[in-house]
């Protein structure tokens, strides 16, 4: 479904991603873990065209993403829950969610989709008329997540979706991710919370300073000594 080959990305003189290759198959949850600054966010940004690649290739559903405009990539059925939430601060919660459906040709189902998001995040229903900028950090994270779901994505990239969420919310978010997978949606998940990420993922990659150092079935990595030491704090 999504395939990255020998990708290099740099910011000026800083090489952030140094030749990674990975693939995500349809209907999988693939998790990308690694320390701060390893290049996880950069990888996701490159997939959705926010950051240009230096070399390598990314193909998605037969499309060459490095040759596709960022906004076109979204219309291919990709969604990206960005790190740092990036909600539209001066729009209301509901307007934010509606923006999520921007790329859909058929706008008739928006009402139903809103209901779905409000089912997932009842808190947002209460706050639907509040400006998103005044929401608490966790509430904004819910908006970002809900907004991504509004576009009926086939594939969803999530960058630390659990950051700043209460334990209960974290569990719910992971529940949602599993549910999405069960509905046939492909998920590429970046998480600091490696333990939970690995426990729901099918496969996983470990990224260290721009290179993939380990890959395999998530359950294997979860029990790998090295991984446990470095990322699970055990």
């Amino acid at each position: 479904m999504l395939e990255i080959k020998d990708l290099h990305v740099s910011y000026g003189a800083i090489d952030a991603v140094k030749g990674i290759s990975l693939h995500v198959d349809e209907g999988e949850i693939v998790s990308l873990i690694g320390a701060n600054g390893a290049g996880k966010t950069t990888t996701l940004h490159t997939i959705t065209g926010l950051v240009p690649a230096k070399s390598g290739s990314i193909t998605y559903d037969g499309h060459d993403l490095l040759k596709t405009h960022a906004e076109k990539i979204i219309t291919l059925g990709m969604a990206h829950v960005p790190e740092g939430r990036h909600v539209f601060t001066r729009m209301t919660v509901q307007e934010n969610l509606e923006m999520g459906a921007f790329s859909l040709k058929d706008q008739s189902g928006i009402g139903r989709d809103l209901e779905m998001v409000f089912e997932y995040f009842p808190r947002l229903r209460e706050r639907r008329r509040q400006l998103a900028g005044t929401l608490s950090g966790g509430e904004q994270q819910m908006v970002a997540m809900g907004r991504a779901l509004m576009g009926h994505p086939k594939t969803i990239l999530m960058d630390e979706p659990s950051m700043g969420l209460s334990p209960l919310m974290v569990k719910e978010i992971f529940d949602i991710i599993v549910t999405l997978r069960d509905k046939g949606i492909t998920v590429l998940l970046v998480e600091q919370n490696a333990k939970m990420a690995l426990s729901i993922a099918d496969r996983a990659y470990v990224l260290e300073t721009g290179r993939i150092t380990m890959e395999g079935k998530a359950s294997d990595l979860l029990h790998d000594e090295q991984v446990r030491k470095a990322y699970l704090g055990a």
Partner: protein, 370 residues
């Protein structure tokens, strides 16, 4: 701080020698007559521009607040100095011209500073483009008020129609004196920038809320910076009045203020040496372009756009030219040691190089969220 071969005292000495050398060049040109009225006029204009630009840089580059009203303060300083000089002469105060020049210029600075405080206290509650527009507004108000003050027009102090030029100001500005005023101004701004005040002001620029949460009285510091900028603008105005000999209210207009803002950005925000280079450069550039006659303003604007596109951080970025550092490099004959020294000073430099600035700008742009 930087590890250098020179001690702090030695560094200051090197700088002082550099300044003396610069003065030597100016004096040589003047004494030998190599510099005629034209060249001297340009040097004088450049000195005024340096004072304006470096002090404006404190507000725009270091504090990070855009103001478009600096010429309002310059005009206040100019009119105050001019009127004071006229009063002194009219009352037969037998001061020698240089003393009178210094007193009136200082007075211009002080009055401008007072206005700076009065305007700064309310205005600095606003930020960014709102502050820009409000300072522009204050500049325009100053212009209109001067324009309608009888005392500011005509020949004498109490006659003449409002809106007239104020003429017949004793032209006592002396290039040597002005040069040293410029040096002192720049030195004061430099010392200010490299002290706890400068650090605090930069902190406010980077994050005002965090600055408050670090115990800084942000309002006080912002007004202080504004007042210092206004003071030096007033000084520049006092010099201008007694160089040019006649004043017009339109000098307070926003278009003039914008000119100085252009100089600051062109030189590199936060870089004093950048401001100096750009003040001198942009004073000379239009003169060089005189050959292009009617197209010179076209050329000027194109040059400006091109610089902004290809060197958006200005010529110097936030880098400071430092004579002691150059000396250090020369002193280190051993190339290996020199390389090490260079690496150390670059890594340790509090000013960022080109890519550093670009990174900062990019990340500032991308991380604008809540």
């Amino acid at each position: 701080m930087k590890k250098t071969m020179l001690s702090a005292a030695q560094s200051y000495l090197v700088c002082a020698l550099g300044v003396l050398a610069a003065f030597g060049v100016v004096a040589f040109l003047c004494e030998t007559g190599l510099a005629d009225y034209y060249i001297k006029g340009i040097m004088m204009t450049a000195c005024i521009a340096i004072i304006m630009t470096t002090s404006l840089n404190l507000t725009i580059g270091v504090l990070g607040q855009l103001t478009l009203g600096c010429c309002g303060f310059q005009a206040i300083g100019a009119y105050v100095a001019a009127l004071a000089s006229k009063l002194m002469i009219a009352n037969g105060m037998g001061l020698d011209p240089t003393t009178r020049f210094l007193i009136t210029t200082l007075l211009g600075g002080v009055v401008a500073c007072v206005f700076g405080i009065l305007i700064g206290i309310p205005a600095l509650r606003l930020h960014g483009d709102y502050l820009a527009i409000i300072t522009l507004g204050f500049g325009e108000i100053i212009r209109v008020v001067i324009q309608n003050l009888k005392v500011a027009g005509g020949m004498g102090l109490d006659q003449g129609a409002a809106g007239q030029a104020l003429i017949g100001i004793d032209r006592t500005a002396n290039l040597y004196v002005v040069f040293w005023i410029m040096v002192v101004s720049v030195a004061v701004l430099f010392m200010f920038g490299r002290s706890r005040y400068g650090r605090a002001v930069k902190a406010i620029r980077d994050d005002e809320i965090a600055a408050g949460a670090s115990g800084l009285n942000t309002t006080y510091l912002k007004v202080l910076v504004f007042a210092i900028s206004a003071f030096f603008a007033g000084i520049a105005g006092g010099i201008f009045a007694q160089y040019i000999g006649s004043l017009n209210p339109s000098m307070a207009g926003w278009l003039n203020s914008i000119n100085y803002v252009i100089m600051v950005v062109f030189g590199g925000m936060g870089s004093i040496t950048g401001s100096i280079v750009s003040a001198v450069g942009l004073t000379i550039l239009p003169e060089l372009l005189r050959a292009f006659a009617e197209y010179r303003m076209l050329v000027y604007s194109v040059v400006l756009v091109l610089v902004m596109i290809f060197r958006p951080q200005g010529i110097f970025g936030s880098w400071e030219f430092s004579l002691p550092q150059v000396v250090n490099r020369l002193l280190l004959r051993n190339p290996k040691a020199a390389a090490q020294e260079k690496a150390a000073s670059e890594a340790g430099s509090e000013t960022s190089d080109e890519s550093g600035a670009a990174v900062a700008a990019a990340s500032a742009a991308s991380k604008k969220e809540a």
